[in-house]
């Protein structure tokens, strides 16, 4: 215990430097955590997708639509319990900067399949009573200050024209990760308009959500669906919802890769800051360490002292950093909530931070230890700096 006291006293000799070192480590740990959490949040949609849901889309790419008639045929395939059509509408609210996802769905079957989207029964009734009724996520409604009954104009990009919807329901997410930023409106309304204005584009779905009885048979059932439409002019590609979502998430692959690399570089900065401080400490203590050896202390005592001090600072930085991370991630999460739900620090991130702190603490002490151990006592005593 005496050794521990000496370590702390040593660290406290240069209060300002120790404080700054711990602060530097803490800030870097915070940055590391914020960036890792961003990557995690980005993948949240794929992470939460349940294994018993598939998505069937056009084999060529998601820009092609499938005949609505496929719905009944998919329904008949063994293992499929429900099917619901959806279309990416891609409308713009006033300005492209106000981006949010907007889809045409069949409200009843859609909500039945996607249980994590919770709509009050009485509000759902209102939606079913209004062809132009829309269901919007809570966060999206907050973002633009929308209330039930508000009219929302969307400019069509894929479906031309100016569209107007009336918010009839605001949905909540069942889970923390659930996306509460989507704008859903009635598929039958879109289809009807298409029938009138562009008959060639009526009776088409962007994709089908498919629920299956047994998650273990996902691959088999997916293959069965695709083979059903093989060699037709609109071949399908069925994948799990997770894979489907990942396909979109991959659009940011470069950014994700970049953020990953940056997060490792930050650990490098943590190491640099600590090594810097430990080297300074070693320089100042050369004569002191030599003196301790004169007194009969052995190398392992010195190693313990130096390693202990390095680890103490690394851990203090790690802990302070986790505190900062817990606070800042909340703010960042709030700021990002309209774009990226599910921004919260995972346990794994904390574990990595602790592990990194320990490893960095050890690495940073190597050089000073080597210096303290290798110097001859007589040379050490002579140094006055």
């Amino acid at each position: 215990m005496k050794v521990f006291k000496l370590i702390i006293r040593n660290a406290m000799r240069h209060r300002l430097r120790t404080f700054l070192t711990v602060l530097g480590l803490a800030l870097a740990v915070m940055a590391f955590g914020l960036i890792r959490t961003l990557v995690d949040a980005w993948y949240a949609g794929a992470r939460i997708a349940p294994p018993d849901r598939l998505v069937t889309r056009h084999a060529v790419s998601f820009t092609f639509t499938l005949p609505l008639a496929y719905l009944e045929q998919i329904q008949k395939i063994d293992g499929v319990s429900a099917v619901t059509p959806a279309v990416w509408f891609g409308g713009i609210y006033i300005d492209p900067k106000n981006f949010f996802g907007n889809f045409a769905v069949d409200p009843v079957t859609y909500l039945d399949m996607y249980k994590e989207i919770i709509v009050q029964p009485e509000e759902l009734k209102e939606v079913l009573a209004d062809r132009r009724g829309a269901i919007v996520g809570r966060r999206l409604a907050d973002r633009f200050g929308w209330k039930v009954g508000d009219k929302v104009p969307l400019i069509g990009t894929i479906y031309p024209g100016n569209w107007e919807f009336t918010i009839r329901a605001i949905y909540h997410g069942r889970d923390k990760d659930t996306d509460e930023t989507a704008f859903l409106f009635r598929f039958d309304y879109l289809d009807e308009v298409m029938r009138e204005t562009a008959p060639g584009r009526a009776g088409q779905a962007g994709w089908f959500g498919v629920k299956i009885n047994d998650a273990n048979r996902a691959a088999e059932i997916g293959a069965a669906i695709d083979s059903r439409f093989k060699n037709s002019w609109a071949e399908t590609k069925t994948e799990t919802e997770k894979e489907f979502v990942l396909g979109f998430i991959q659009m940011a692959d470069v950014l994700i890769a970049g953020l990953r690399i940056i997060s490792y570089l930050i650990i490098g900065v943590i190491l640099l800051v600590l090594v810097n401080t430990m080297v300074m400490t070693a320089r100042e203590r050369i004569s002191e360490n030599a003196f301790l050896r004169v007194l009969g202390f052995r190398n392992f005592h010195l190693i313990g002292l130096i390693l202990g001090e390095s680890l103490a600072m690394a851990c203090a930085g790690g802990i302070a950093g986790m505190g900062l991370l817990a606070m800042t991630s909340r703010l960042v999460g709030q700021a990002l909530s309209i774009y990226l739900p599910g921004y919260y620090v995972g346990l794994e991130t904390y574990v990595i931070v602790v592990a990194a702190a320990v490893i960095v603490g050890c690495l940073a002490s190597i050089f000073p230890i080597q210096r303290a151990v290798s110097i001859k006592i007589i040379d050490g005593l002579r140094v006055v700096d």
Binding site: L23, L25, T157, L272, T277
Partner: protein, 387 residues
């Protein structure tokens, strides 16, 4: 002023400490520069895709070709516009094109990516003189042959010369590879517009591109076409259209990169602060001596600020040099405005170098300020007494 040599030699005195600090700054500047280079690389690739002489017509509000639909008769109307330049044979220099995304696996990872298949006409090549066939030949059987951009050929399965790929319930052979001078076309497959529209059962065009007879008349022509009741279209200068296609992703990378770099820089700034406080602490008596020789507090302050900035500038330059090697690296990712794959290089510009240097200097200034103030505020009598 306190001589620069004094400052520099003091920096060199503590090599390990100085090196650590320089490395810290260089990592931050590297990240900053890399993000800006990525953003700029994407921007310049798309800007170079468009030509100053050309204009492009897409459906009103559709934002990009991928969402645009131009009916065939509307395409013909645009094609008869009097503002269009004439080819040598007197025909109008315009092309109707169709733009389709297909899924094709990446060679590197096997992940599916959205590749552009562009249905083109013979005039398309005339309108884009930068595009040159560098291997193989042009298609002869338009119904089963396509040519591929250089990056597409390299990166995606089935897109290399002589390889086969399947789309639209038909098998296609890549019979030629073209070089589009690093522009966005390098990431595309080109085939015959009639055949492509046919196999995808899309009897429409996505866009009409033409050479303007007189580029100064653009605004008038734009107004005329956009007000034509027979069609609902947006008309853009081709260069501006493509530049706008980089807006979302390039903006995101640029701004996001800056924010991340700033958060990242906090750790390095504190590192610099530690170094500078130590530098002050090691030289208290020297500071007292300089003051007693008649150097002012301001001179001491400036000397330490210069020391901090010299360290951070070195780190900054190191970071920029490191980042400049990224220029050799090509990246392919999905462009958020078109949902399609685009290959581009990290690209350095003078503006990025200047911004990175300024960033590094600011880091030094912030990290060195408090220690320099401490040095300047030392009392001469006390500091002369220091060991």
């Amino acid at each position: 002023m306190i001589p620069l040599g004094y400052t520099i030699r003091n920096i060199l005195k503590h090599k390990v400490t100085t090196t650590m600090t320089i490395l810290g700054v260089s990592l931050v500047v590297f990240v900053f520069a890399a993000a800006q280079m990525l953003s700029y690389g994407l921007k310049s690739t798309l800007v170079s895709t468009g030509s100053d002489d050309n204009a492009i017509v897409i459906r009103k509000s559709s934002q990009s070709e991928v969402q645009s639909i131009i009916l065939r008769d509307q395409g013909q109307i645009v094609g008869t516009s009097p503002e269009i330049a004439r080819a040598a044979d007197g025909s109008a220099l315009y092309t109707n094109e169709i733009y389709v995304l297909i899924n094709q696996p990446k060679r590197a990872t096997g992940e599916l990516a959205n590749i552009v298949v562009r249905g083109v006409t013979p005039k398309s090549l005339e309108l884009r003189p930068a595009v040159k066939l560098i291997a193989g030949r042009m298609w002869q059987d338009a119904g089963s042959e396509v040519i591929a951009g250089k990056s597409a050929a390299e990166r995606y399965a089935g897109c290399g010369l002589g390889e086969k790929l399947r789309f639209g319930a038909r098998e296609w052979t890549v019979v030629g590879v073209f070089d589009a001078q690093g522009s966005g076309f390098d990431s595309e497959l080109w085939g015959d517009v009639v055949q492509i529209a046919d196999v995808f059962r899309r009897p429409i065009y996505s866009s009409v591109t033409f050479r303007m007879a007189d580029t100064t008349q653009f605004e008038a022509m734009k107004a005329r076409l956009e007000n034509d009741r027979r069609m609902e279209v947006d008309v853009f200068r081709e260069k501006e259209y493509y530049a706008a296609q980089s807006r979302t992703l390039a903006g995101f990378i640029g701004i996001g990169g800056t924010i991340v770099s700033i958060i990242f820089s906090l750790g390095a700034i504190v590192g610099a602060m530690i170094t500078m406080y130590a530098s002050v602490a090691n030289r208290v008596r020297e500071i007292g001596t300089l003051r007693s020789l008649g150097f002012s507090r301001l001179a001491i302050l400036i000397s330490f600020l210069i020391e901090a900035m010299a360290i951070s500038l070195t780190g900054g330059l190191l970071g920029i040099v490191g980042a400049s090697f990224l220029g050799m690296l090509q990246v392919a990712t999905t462009n958020w405005d078109t949902f399609s794959q685009i290959a581009f290089n990290f690209r350095l510009s003078t503006a990025i170098v200047i911004a990175a240097v300024v960033f590094a200097l600011v880091m030094g200034l912030v990290g060195g300020f408090l220690p320099a103030v401490r040095a300047a505020r030392l009392k001469i009598v006390d500091s002369l007494r220091a060991a």
